[in-house]
Symmetry: D3
Amino acid sequence: MFLHQKELQFEAKPDKPNPLIAKYLQELIGGQYGEMSVAMQYLFQGWSCRGEEKYKDMLMDIATEEIGHVEMLATMVARLLEGAPVEDQEAAMKKDPTIGAIISGMNPQHAIVAGLGPRPADSVGNPWSGAYIIASGNLLADFRANLNAESQGRLQVARIYEMIDDRGVKDLLSVLLARDSYHQNLWAQAVKELEEKEGTILVPSTFPRNEERLDIAYDFYNFSEGDQSKEGSWAKGKALDGEGEYQWLSTPKVEGKAPKLDPVTPKMYGTPPEK
Amino acid sequence: MFLHQKELQFEAKPDKPNPLIAKYLQELIGGQYGEMSVAMQYLFQGWSCRGEEKYKDMLMDIATEEIGHVEMLATMVARLLEGAPVEDQEAAMKKDPTIGAIISGMNPQHAIVAGLGPRPADSVGNPWSGAYIIASGNLLADFRANLNAESQGRLQVARIYEMIDDRGVKDLLSVLLARDSYHQNLWAQAVKELEEKEGTILVPSTFPRNEERLDIAYDFYNFSEGDQSKEGSWAKGKALDGEGEYQWLSTPKVEGKAPKLDPVTPKMYGTPPEK
Amino acid sequence: MFLHQKELQFEAKPDKPNPLIAKYLQELIGGQYGEMSVAMQYLFQGWSCRGEEKYKDMLMDIATEEIGHVEMLATMVARLLEGAPVEDQEAAMKKDPTIGAIISGMNPQHAIVAGLGPRPADSVGNPWSGAYIIASGNLLADFRANLNAESQGRLQVARIYEMIDDRGVKDLLSVLLARDSYHQNLWAQAVKELEEKEGTILVPSTFPRNEERLDIAYDFYNFSEGDQSKEGSWAKGKALDGEGEYQWLSTPKVEGKAPKLDPVTPKMYGTPPEK
Amino acid sequence: MFLHQKELQFEAKPDKPNPLIAKYLQELIGGQYGEMSVAMQYLFQGWSCRGEEKYKDMLMDIATEEIGHVEMLATMVARLLEGAPVEDQEAAMKKDPTIGAIISGMNPQHAIVAGLGPRPADSVGNPWSGAYIIASGNLLADFRANLNAESQGRLQVARIYEMIDDRGVKDLLSVLLARDSYHQNLWAQAVKELEEKEGTILVPSTFPRNEERLDIAYDFYNFSEGDQSKEGSWAKGKALDGEGEYQWLSTPKVEGKAPKLDPVTPKMYGTPPEK
Amino acid sequence: MFLHQKELQFEAKPDKPNPLIAKYLQELIGGQYGEMSVAMQYLFQGWSCRGEEKYKDMLMDIATEEIGHVEMLATMVARLLEGAPVEDQEAAMKKDPTIGAIISGMNPQHAIVAGLGPRPADSVGNPWSGAYIIASGNLLADFRANLNAESQGRLQVARIYEMIDDRGVKDLLSVLLARDSYHQNLWAQAVKELEEKEGTILVPSTFPRNEERLDIAYDFYNFSEGDQSKEGSWAKGKALDGEGEYQWLSTPKVEGKAPKLDPVTPKMYGTPPEK
Amino acid sequence: MFLHQKELQFEAKPDKPNPLIAKYLQELIGGQYGEMSVAMQYLFQGWSCRGEEKYKDMLMDIATEEIGHVEMLATMVARLLEGAPVEDQEAAMKKDPTIGAIISGMNPQHAIVAGLGPRPADSVGNPWSGAYIIASGNLLADFRANLNAESQGRLQVARIYEMIDDRGVKDLLSVLLARDSYHQNLWAQAVKELEEKEGTILVPSTFPRNEERLDIAYDFYNFSEGDQSKEGSWAKGKALDGEGEYQWLSTPKVEGKAPKLDPVTPKMYGTPPEK
């Protein structure tokens, strides 16, 4: 059960309206790694959690914080759209080339569909999708997904930070950068904790390793000409999982044969066989 | 530039046809974390690589291997569909309840659209989407995405392994399990290498930290009642990034005010103001 | 800003596991008119609200309630999936035709992707989409969207209620039916209030009517042969907007000409003109 | 069965080409509430209609009219694209900043994919989706969907009307505004007729109310701090359905317990339990 | 402008209800190559037609016929769903394994969302998408798209024809098979006519060939080991376009260099360069 | 199994960076008819091939070539994005209107998400979709799909060729134009070969024609007023399939009746019947 408090956790006021920045911030609301994604991802992970209570509680803490992040960004976008050049645009464009650029660069759905409000979509207008998120029931796997999400997220915030000049927006981005820093620390920490507890870095840790092809489980195959890949730490030495030894093969192992499929019933009307 | 060799790297032959297993394997072909996803993700990361040659070469090696994985699974699906009960289904269903279950459980597009061949889609029929993948230009961020992808991927393979009885399919899954083991080792190793090189676990490592709100960059906010989240290693002690000290706050910090949006031009025809 | 309370608002326990019911309930979680849709729709409407405070507050109240509904359904789905026949399915199918039907009817992603947890998707597996929702900045328009959403929602709950036998699930559905009843009352009431305040049923109420083609604003055109449409209350009498008089025309008015497009630059390489 | 008449019902000629307006009009063709949506929605409702003939006939009348609306808008877009600055754009941009703004603002698919013709997509390029529409088999529910669609539709037309200066386009928009007015009247009227006939405003009207939790069917729960929501007409007095009495509760009722999920088979390879 | 006639062009009555067949027929309504696709594709091609009137008229003739095909199939699906086992399913499943298979095989949205009516979606539930269709403004290109669509369409109808036993449904499929035959003839004929008129088989015919790399315009590159591809009619002899001579190269020509991308501004926060 | 060679097959270097051209080229990477589509389409056709080896080999040859085309375009896009005006945009816009136009026209995801790299998406940002491609198991059908894809593809390349001024990009487009020419020749040739072999132009060729409604298999129905469609070669004379005789009917044949659906169980809660 959730409760809503009217205050934003942090302030969300731009120095002045700017519909291009509003378009950029949509990536942080409804993009693949935006706040809708992390909120929903953590919620579904929490709701699926069959493990220890401290992980479930922590997931719900962060998930709930992230819904508030969507709120701050949605508010910021609404304010950035105030005063956008939406009326008699042709006349306005002729007067001033900068206004022309703003009109042509603005997301038209911000005006036509949302009446100068935020959209559940990314910076090019793709609607947010449930396909962005994962909740697998395996926390080590999912915490890696979360660490990735917060890494991509902070990266995108940092980029927008450099693209814009508005101090008010930058102040909110500073907050998001800090929270994404903490969340990277947090997920990396929780990953470390679980790896230690499960005794391996491999997900899933409990699958019996003798049922996988262990003889090929430490091979690097050189599928792309050139052997620079040999220089990496993944190419030789003790594997991180503590069990095997990496080896770099200049030519990929081949065991299979060229596949030849059998014909199926002619009632599927595939290409008829040669007579 | 790519070249194709006729042999499959590993064999892909089921003991006998089984359209339900064919449906499951689609998740590994065209699902969010299937082989199309990892192949495309590594390709775009390689093609975007502006950094050291060994990473680019390594990305192209693995990417190229993964296209071959799609091929093995596609071949397996084609063979699992041979002999599927596609003709005069009503009559067939009446004769045998197991056939009835197979008919009703089979993916109808395997017959109608693909004529008993594989589909670029997942186990419930969603077409594969470019929205599944990421190539950000920041390798540390992207290698975390890759570690996640291989973790989710191996988890899904392990689950299907337990769901089925077919030895031939299991043999291919053993191969995939092993390769996903290696690729988890590899990405974890590469992540470690980059973290050490960049001197921090935070992505992006070069963003000036004094431009983020450092005062809130180590706080855990207790947004969900109950304080079990306090028990985690993320709640106190030195942060993994080596700079701050985690702290757990029983009540979230609040700095913002309740937002009140200004009206916009009446020409957007929002709700008219109270008179 | 949001807070999370551990208790579910209402209980979410099935009598016994049942993966087919789990599949059905996904429609109520991630379908076009599921709880994710109403939660997100009301949130974005609230965040875009530039009008009176009571509407904004009310939107946030209901939105926050709905996030809790997603939580209850997600929990129910997780419990319905416990004990699903996921192992050695071929052997299990042979033993019992009912198990066979369950295996073939189950959503395979519930096992493979979510490890027996809920998905942010509908009953056939389409991921939830931001394209399902609307927040236009015009409350009368949006409250009509909401009334529709709660109507479709209650209808779907009622249908599932009849399809299943599980008392525990039915108890939760009884709750949802009641809340959807209230929310239908609420949105219908709010629509009535706004229509009275704005003095018309037309959205948007403030567009100057002399700039629309008033001469055709009350015409019913008989585009489909047969004249039963003439019997409706929309075909004659005073219009609901209080301004015009409905009229039924047996033949649609035609003012336009057959369109003939001009050629464009040959550099677009359309079909070359006849010589 | 359908027939096509060459004349457009109303004229569709812009004063002069303008690719930015062409981009805007795409929202009215292939957006969530564009003419493709209403045409398809009414067609599927008509085709699913198991009720009285007058509703089916009426649905087919309006649906057929709406296909003609798509035609008028598609024609208008084609004409707005004539003469668009598609050749040697770099040179053209340098000559004139207004042309620069047009080039950068234009939808590139209008040139590259459609050769200066209309697209089955919205103003930011999302392809039209069957997920936009509903046909539930319950006319009262669906007529509410229709009333919403015509409300959002007229709102969007009104906004574009203000954004542009072209008289020819505005003339067509005046027609659409008028037809959307009529269709709002029509659906509101049909809703009223059905509510009176079914004797309640609740959808579905025939579900036995004693099987829902009537004790919570009139409660407003204050989930968002602040009590402005108490001021609405939905908070006290006789409910619109004529049966209950609204009540406003300052604190949400809580009946459930904090959910704790049972473990599932270890073969799903979720997080292993603590030892 | 369109008109609707109540009669179906051909009868659409199944022998008896069957929800599995209803699920199959959805592919023909809302699949990639279903009737919604051809209807919409021909409409947009007609509306974009800047060429000779006979092509535009023909496109509108066929497009309008296809809307009627959607109607026949939608009606058939509605009838196939009558009497589906939607109530108290658990009890029903226990009684009869065939009913069990039907329940688990049925598309749940047919009941829950559509109340036993058709859906604008394919046989696995993907909503129809505007991304399925093309209207490029070049008729030769588009008629090839149409020939493909009618080929895939007739193939899918033929497959379903063999899968089912219902005579009534088969009668409608016989009609569709015949119409798809005609439409294949028609598009192939129109393609031939345009190729003769334009004097080449190459689309677009008017692009100056000296601006393409003519020296590589007739080469087959052997990218996949094995030289069976050499046996095809595409490997030697006069090219179909009447200009060049095919040649088969055992090794692909290579002109390019290994790409090495330049670094970009550090403000994009990509991977930092090696020191 | 695939191998990667570092060299690009052809060079991919623009004269100078240009983010607008980068946006256009995305259509050729991830659009409906871009290189990802043809690569994936030919791969799945090859993997599904149950027919003669020469077709399978040829499909794999071309598919593998096309993956290399994606690589060349991805490299070109990365280079076109170097030096894009991504920093302090507001200041930059004020200085120079051309830069303003570039900023507002640029795809924001090129900077925010990809850090100045390519995206698996089209020119307006829609992610590439598995729904774009087909592999039906019937080669004649699929080769027609391929001929269409190469026709649309070459058309789009030709259009972009005219839109831009950059010689380096044009050089790569010249290559693509030539390869698309060859591939059109190739698919047309293969289609011809198969048509001759199968003895008909109809797909599928083996469906017994007496099970289709032959009496209506050569009729053109005049569904759109005006009889210009009568002038086409499809309207009279021997049909291309060599069996029937085309005929043009001024009025469509009508055999069906107006459909009247039966009521379904009241438990689906459709509109209740009139009393």
